[in-house]
């Protein structure tokens, strides 16, 4: 996490919380310490009961029993002697459950936080948030007249309109349908990129994590078991983010140029002279993209086959080989410059090609998916 050290503006916390219960099994202990740059999206990932929501509530100051330390930029939110009350913390919180005030209209709900947190309405920003969330036509409605998805979009808009420094989101899209998710996700990405705002995003969805997160905190049993950049955490076979049946690697690239203005885009892998052809429109040109490459779409050759129909061939070095003798297969970890790819091959191929750690090979990539 070199990124963390170069940023000076940070959100740092070190919490300890004990929920005691009569029933021993219901006891819960949380002990988490982390420092995050006050920028971009940090996903909080982990099984249910691992303390994801509790962590957000600690940061928001909603867990009075939480002990420890929390600071945002220069401002102390909590230390041994002092706790800044929630209403004074420059944050917004979007939870999974409906949270609109049922006695207020949509417009009044939107204005509730805005009027308390900001000096006045920035009409352009207001209009932009409303149009992005697609809620402009709902302003006069009462929350009871909204669908679950509409209600959640209004909640997100209400949080955004407070222009917070830290945006806490607890599975905010789990109530939305797929098309609406696809619509809101890019806006959240954009929001994270444009403002000095830290988004802490609790999710169960790997898709959302891969799309949104710059960093990941993986929790288990109230403890932080992994933290780091999304790629660093994801691109290990034993990573908790990996699907063990279907390993895949993430690759951050920059879209460079269209081939003959067609649907193929050349994407450069940073840190090397390597590039890939991907299916992407001209609008992505110059942008940074995140690709997901499934291990089964990568094969290995000892030499560069110019005569192959496979366009994407990259020189790589074998970093590790993991055998699965039960299925007769192996997953090979390949280093392409600084980046990582996985290749799923049979044990027979492994033996025939005499593959071993450290040797140079060619990775042939049959297809890539653009994750974001």
């Amino acid at each position: 996490m070199t990124e963390t050290q170069t940023h000076e503006v940070c959100l740092s916390f070190d919490f300890a919380l004990q929920h005691s219960a009569k029933n021993k099994a219901a006891e819960f202990q949380l002990k988490i310490k982390a420092t995050l740059p006050l920028q971009g999206v940090t996903a909080i990932y982990g099984p249910s009961g691992s303390g994801k929501t509790t962590l957000l509530r600690c940061i928001a100051g909603l867990e009075p029993k939480a002990k420890g330390h929390c600071a945002v930029a220069e401002k102390i939110w909590q230390d041994e002697r002092y706790t800044l009350p929630t209403f004074k913390r420059d944050l917004a919180y979007v939870s999974q459950a409906p949270s609109l005030f049922t006695h207020l209209t949509v417009a009044q709900n939107l204005a509730y936080g805005e009027s308390r947190r900001t000096p006045g309405r920035d009409q352009a920003f207001y209009d932009k948030v409303l149009s992005t969330m697609g809620i402009g036509h709902l302003l006069a409605r009462m929350p009871a007249q909204l669908s679950g998805g509409e209600e959640q979009r209004v909640s997100i808009a209400r949080a955004l309109l407070t222009r917070p420094q830290v945006l806490l989101m607890d599975e905010p899209l789990s109530a939305l349908d797929q098309p609406r998710k696809r619509e809101i996700l890019p806006y959240l990405e954009q929001l994270a990129a444009q403002f000095q705002i830290a988004i802490l995003y609790v999710t169960h969805s790997l898709d959302e994590l891969v799309r949104l997160a710059d960093r990941v905190l993986v929790l288990e049993d109230g403890k932080l078991i992994e933290s780091g950049s999304t790629l660093a955490i994801f691109n290990r076979l034993e990573s908790p983010l990996q699907d063990s049946d279907e390993p895949s690697a993430l690759l951050d690239v920059i879209a460079v140029e269209n081939h003959n203005n067609g649907p193929l885009m050349r994407a450069e892998i940073p840190g090397g002279q390597q590039s890939l052809w991907i299916k992407a429109g001209a609008e992505t040109k110059g942008k940074s993209l995140r690709l997901r490459v499934l291990a089964r779409d990568v094969s290995i050759a000892l030499s560069n086959h110019d005569d192959s129909s496979i366009l994407n061939r990259l020189p790589a070095i074998i970093d590790a080989i993991q055998l699965n003798s039960a299925t007769g297969t192996a997953v090979v970890t390949l280093k392409v410059g600084e980046q990582v790819l996985f290749a799923a091959i049979t044990q027979l191929s492994l033996e025939k090609l005499q593959l071993r750690e450290g040797i140079s090979v060619w990775a042939q990539i049959k297809s890539v998916a653009i994750a974001r």
Binding site: A60, G61, L62, P85, T86, F87, L91, A92, Y93, S99, F101, T102, H103, Y112, G113, R116, R117, R158, T162
Partner: protein
């Protein structure tokens, strides 16, 4: 309808008493009900029991102890005398103070119920949107609990209007001061003035029925009633 000037005075006194008590109870019971709804203190069952006592005790018991406590040798009596307020028994304000206890559960319990049902979440959401606790209470909690406040006010008012034993014990029978409608009815019956008694009794019956009818038809039965 036969209503003497004394009857009219008694009616206005009853309305004034019930109105004053209801207003004061709504003020006092809001923090009390809030505390009861959210506290985990070991004092909670004790306070809850005291709040519920008037539901089970005969009003004469309450009146008796009130006479002792607020009388010249009681602690409350010494206090009010020291403050130059005189003694409470046999005064209008004595009735107000006693009625506060008498009608307390009818106001506390609907509010406590509503606060418990709403939980902490509305206040938490308000806080994350920048509202101080007091602001959050008035802008979110109070509107959300409005039906409970209407229930509490109606029950508190109607119950105070209907008290008799307690007033007879410690209020006496002073016209314009402590002689409320229920006592006036008793006087009429004692004096065998059944016509007058009937007028006032019918009036009470009709009025009480009307406000309860309004309450039930306005909110539906679910919002009334106490925590079991």
């Amino acid at each position: 309808m036969q209503l003497s000037p004394d009857d009219i005075t008694a009616i206005f006194l009853s309305l004034k008493l019930a109105g004053t008590v209801t207003f004061l109870l709504l003020l006092l019971c809001t923090p009390l009900a809030w505390w009861l709804a959210h506290s985990t203190s070991i004092l909670k069952p004790i306070i809850s029991a005291f709040v519920a006592l008037p539901l089970v005790l005969p009003p004469t018991v309450l009146g008796f102890y009130f006479l002792i406590i607020a009388g010249p040798s009681g602690p409350l009596g010494s206090l009010t005398e020291a403050l130059g307020l005189g003694l409470l028994p046999f005064t209008y304000w004595g009735l107000v103070v006693a009625s506060l206890f008498y009608s307390l559960p009818f106001v506390v319990q609907p509010l406590q119920n509503a606060f418990e049902i709403q939980g902490r979440r509305p206040m938490e959401i308000a806080a994350t949107l920048g509202a101080r606790p007091i602001d959050g209470f008035f802008s979110v909690m109070l509107p959300l609990c409005r039906p409970a406040y209407i229930t509490a006010a109606t029950l508190g008012f109607a119950h105070t209007l209907g008290e008799f034993g307690l007033i007879l014990m410690m209020g006496g029978n002073i016209p314009g001061e402590t002689r409320v409608v229920s006592v006036q009815i008793y006087n009429h019956v004692e004096a065998l003035e059944y016509g007058n008694a009937h007028s006032l009794a019918a009036l009470m019956l009709g009025f009480s029925l009307l406000i309860l009818l309004l309450l039930y038809s306005f909110q539906g039965r679910k919002l009334i009633g106490f925590k079991s």
